[in-house]
Amino acid sequence: MQFEVIAKCHTTRARVSRMNLTHGVTMLPTFMPVATQAAIKGLTPQQVEALGVTLILNNTYHLNLRPGMKVLNQAGGAHKFQGWHRNLLTDSGGFQLVSLSKFTTITEEGALFLSPFTGEPTMLTPEESISIQHSIGADIIMQLDDVVSSLTTGPRVAEAMERSVRWLDRCIKYHEGSGKKSTQNLFAIVQGGLDPHLRHQCLDAMIQRKNDISGYAIGGLSGGEEKDVFWRIIKLCADKLPEDRPRYSMGIGFAEGRNFLLHLLVCVALGVDMADCVFPTRTARFGVALTHAGPLNLKLSKHEADMNPIDKSCPCPTCTDGTSRAYLHHIVTHETAAAHAVTIHNITFQAQVMGGARDAILSGTFPEYLRSFFAGYFGDGGYPEWCVNALRSVGVDLLQDHPVNLIPGSGAKWEYAN
């Protein structure tokens, strides 16, 4: 991996960088659409590439079940299997194992679970996780970490953090010996729950191992925690992580639904470079299109005779073709083509928001960019208090020219914009 920071925001911690991997260049900050089963919902890899997407995520847990490693090995890896020629990232499989399987037990050796196929007890060790990810062949791979819910308290949190460091060493060792180091890049995952002290400990230990690690992920924040705690942990980690490594905030799109965009922008302002996101594709199936004025529910009858596209200024194929809201309303949830059309738009929209952030950071206007994004997204409906607090911590006052109410708690609950 070649990683180069190109520009830094003068006010916030945001930065623009260029990450060159085996399958080309990805400009950061970026979001990664999720292709859980080796496909972005309804789109061919060629269609996804045409949208300007350069990095997607596959889930190791799912690919290990289906098609399985035997098939992936025969295919020559997941890139070839799914016909995707750009960059690919895989998770370790551990998070899904814990969240999708009821009988997972963590031991020092690894995660013990019942195989969904045979019902036999099966062990996912750090070595095994890396070995599976080698078969998949992703450009960025993740260490196996000991995942605990962000709501867990007590000694288990420290234990999980310490074990994650030990497992990182095993992942590094296995990866070193594999001969895959030149094509696949290992990321460490910072754990430590919501305890700043544990986070610092974990960061210290993992930063020590920097020479063996291509990048850092911030893990253990799965959505259940207080928002004000969430951003403080992100900030704590991003502040301490080394300049010359990409920073990936894991799984925030998983839990955050339509607030995802806010998390994404706040994280960027705090110094995060990458985040994954199932939301634009998942929500598209139900006819929800993302816009700068908030989400648009195309199922609502108010759209049934509206000849306007989702967003006149959007460069996606759906909008540039003049696909009307009326047309989408007619086919939403009836025809898979509706999901394709909205997915195309939503992925493009997300990529535009992140591309716009890159340009704004480069031209020194990122604080204005944040302010105008929030103003457009919420109008006069009030801002989530935690976003305002988080951005104040990096010198941006959202309320500067736009005095609105603050909404406390986990964030805004708003009606669809249209």
Binding site: I6, V16, R18, V25, M27, Q37, A38, A39, I40, K41, G42, L43, T44, Q46, Q47, E49, A50, L51, G52, R66, P67, V71, Q74, A75, K80, F81, Q82, G83, H85, G257, R258, N259, R282, T283, R285, E304, A305, M307, P317, T318, D321, T323, S324, A326, Y327, H330, I331, H334, E335, T336, A337, H340, A341, I344, A351, Q352, M354, G355, G356, R358
Partner: protein, 520 residues
């Protein structure tokens, strides 16, 4: 409702190749259908050829940009009834040139769009039609549509081709003599109404559904009535036309209502592969002939809902049919089948069944494809793996092209380095995986491929009609029957597995996910 009555010129011509003219009334023929819209360039479609079906206005599983890239999407047929859910129907509100094309995203320089009220594949029971309306199906219930309304919708939508209302019964057969007579009379009256001249504008290109149900006498009578010189009120209405047939460009033969009339049952499933297997193509041929016999031979003959390429070949051979809809191949894509056959029969077949016949395609749900890294068909390979004289399939699954453009999201983004390069074919193993993980792109890729295979089949048929004598053509057809399984066993197997996977996925899943969405 604001409605412009002025239509730009849109003329459709049909030329039968010289070589096939001299033969008899029903012999196989090749031709070219040529559409000139607004004085722009032609859209040429070779016949025998294929029409692509739509559902709620879209080609199922394809995105709009795929319409542009997929060379098989040249003529799409739009059943209009789903648009009756909104009043006025929303496509009638679209402004500008070629409103229906525009509303549905079909490129007007590439696609012919035809429109009928009913979906020709829908055999479900609907309440009887009246003297002045047709009953149509929508998800919000049955809607009555009058001839006036239908004409106004066509005027507003400006499709290239319109099918006027026809009184086709969709309630329990057998139909009495009286019912058949009424059906013919209504269809005649509604056609007359439809063919009234449009003030200051070019007339519609009209394809007429040949009525008469399962009765040879009734079918003959309806066709003869089209040719009669009109008198009195009828003549005044359609002036300057002397007979209705003068205003008709093509003849449409819908097999679903015909099979229903023959079998005397109500079909609640619209899929042509599960219609009563007792009804043979040979039962249908005399009925179709009785419709076409009185009529001029130089007009286009279109058949909807043909159930297999075997039937298509028979109808080409024995009736001289020019166009077929692709419903059969599109359905195959729905249920996970990658088509793999050619005409004339080639050297690269699929597996043989115990009855000695080859399947027309691969049921990619089958576990035997899990580790099969071959492209979708044996008869065709991808452009990237071109090899000797094996035909190439240029579809988006076998010969995927890297994108010509990439959207740039910031000033720093690099542009596409390799636009338009042909990539490796998608494999059976990958599609097997997508089907079992409910990934929708499986069906997109299969639609692209299956339409291309059907296209290649018709290209082979045209070539054979052009270059072979009648006898050799007949011989090739019997060879096709000998080689390929007409029972479509692979379809029933695939449909069963598709059903299981859909079941396992659970009907409630979408609802559950939806609930999850709204609580976030």
């Amino acid at each position: 409702m604001p409605m412009s009555t002025s239509r730009q010129s849109c003329s459709l011509s049909f030329t039968i190749a010289q070589a096939s003219i001299s033969k008899s009334l029903f012999s196989p023929r090749v031709g070219t259908l040529s559409l000139t819209r607004n004085g722009d360039g032609n859209i040429d479609i070779d016949t025998p050829g294929v029409i692509v079906n739509t559902s709620r206005g879209v080609v199922p599983h394809l995105s709009r940009e795929q319409y542009k890239q997929c060379s098989s999407v040249r003529w799409v047929h739009v059943p209009f009834e789903t648009f009756l859910e909104h009043k006025p129907p929303v496509p009638t509100l679209q402004t500008g040139q070629d409103p229906l094309h525009r509303f549905l995203g079909y490129p007007s320089d590439k696609c012919v769009v035809s429109m009928s009220l009913r979906d020709p594949h829908d055999g479900r029971e609907v309440p009887s039609n009246g003297n002045a309306f047709v009953s149509a199906n929508t998800i919000r219930g049955v809607r009555k549509v009058s001839p006036d309304e239908w004409r106004s919708y066509a005027l507003a939508c400006k499709p290239d081709i319109v099918v006027p209302l026809s009184d086709t019964p969709f309630n329990p057969s057998p139909y009495s003599q009286k019912r058949l007579t009424k059906s013919i009379e209504r269809s005649f009256t509604w056609l007359t109404h439809f063919l009234q001249p449009i003030e200051g504008s070019h007339p519609f290109n009209v394809f007429v559904h040949l009525a008469g149900g399962a009765s040879i006498a009734a079918r003959t009578a309806f066709s003869e009535s089209l040719l009669e010189t009109l008198h009195g009120k009828d003549a005044d209405m359609v002036k300057p036309l002397k007979s209705l047939d003068e205003g008709v460009t093509g003849y449409q033969l819908d097999l679903v209502p015909l099979r229903l009339a023959l079998s005397g049952v109500i079909n609640i499933d619209t899929s042509p592969v599960t219609t009563d297997p007792g009804i043979k193509t040979s039962d249908i041929v005399p009925l179709l002939r009785s419709s076409l016999f009185p009529l001029p031979t130089h007009k286009i003959r279109l058949v909807n809902s043909s159930k297999s390429p075997h039937e298509m070949l028979t109808l080409i051979q024995q009736i001289g049919v020019d166009l077929f809809d692709a419903q059969w191949a599109q359905r195959a894509a729905d249920i996970g089948i990658a088509l793999d056959f050619s005409f004339p029969v080639g050297n690269w077949g699929t597996r043989r069944r115990s009855n000695g016949k080859q399947d027309l395609g691969h049921n990619l749900f089958d576990p035997s494809y899990a580790e099969d890294f071959a492209p979708l068909a044996n008869c065709f390979i991808g452009e990237a793996t071109r090899n000797g004289d094996v035909p190439v399939c240029m579809c988006g699954a076998c010969s995927p092209l890297s994108p010509h453009t990439r959207i740039s999201h910031s000033s720093l983004d690099e542009s596409a380095p390799n636009g338009g390069e042909v990539g490796q074919p998608f494999t059976r193993a990958y599609l097997h995986h997508l089907l079992h993980t409910h990934e929708m792109s499986a069906h997109s890729l299969l639609v692209l491929h299956n339409l291309a295979v059907l296209d290649a089949f018709f290209a082979g048929v045209r070539n054979a009609i052009r270059s072979l004598g009648n006898e050799t053509f007949d011989l090739e057809i019997s060879r096709f029957f000998q080689e390929y399984d007409e029972e479509l066993l692979v379809f029933s197997e695939s449909e069963a597995m598709w059903g299981e996977v859909e079941m396992a996925r659970g009907k409630g899943r979408l609802t559950r996910e939806k609930a999850k969405q709204t609580t976030v």
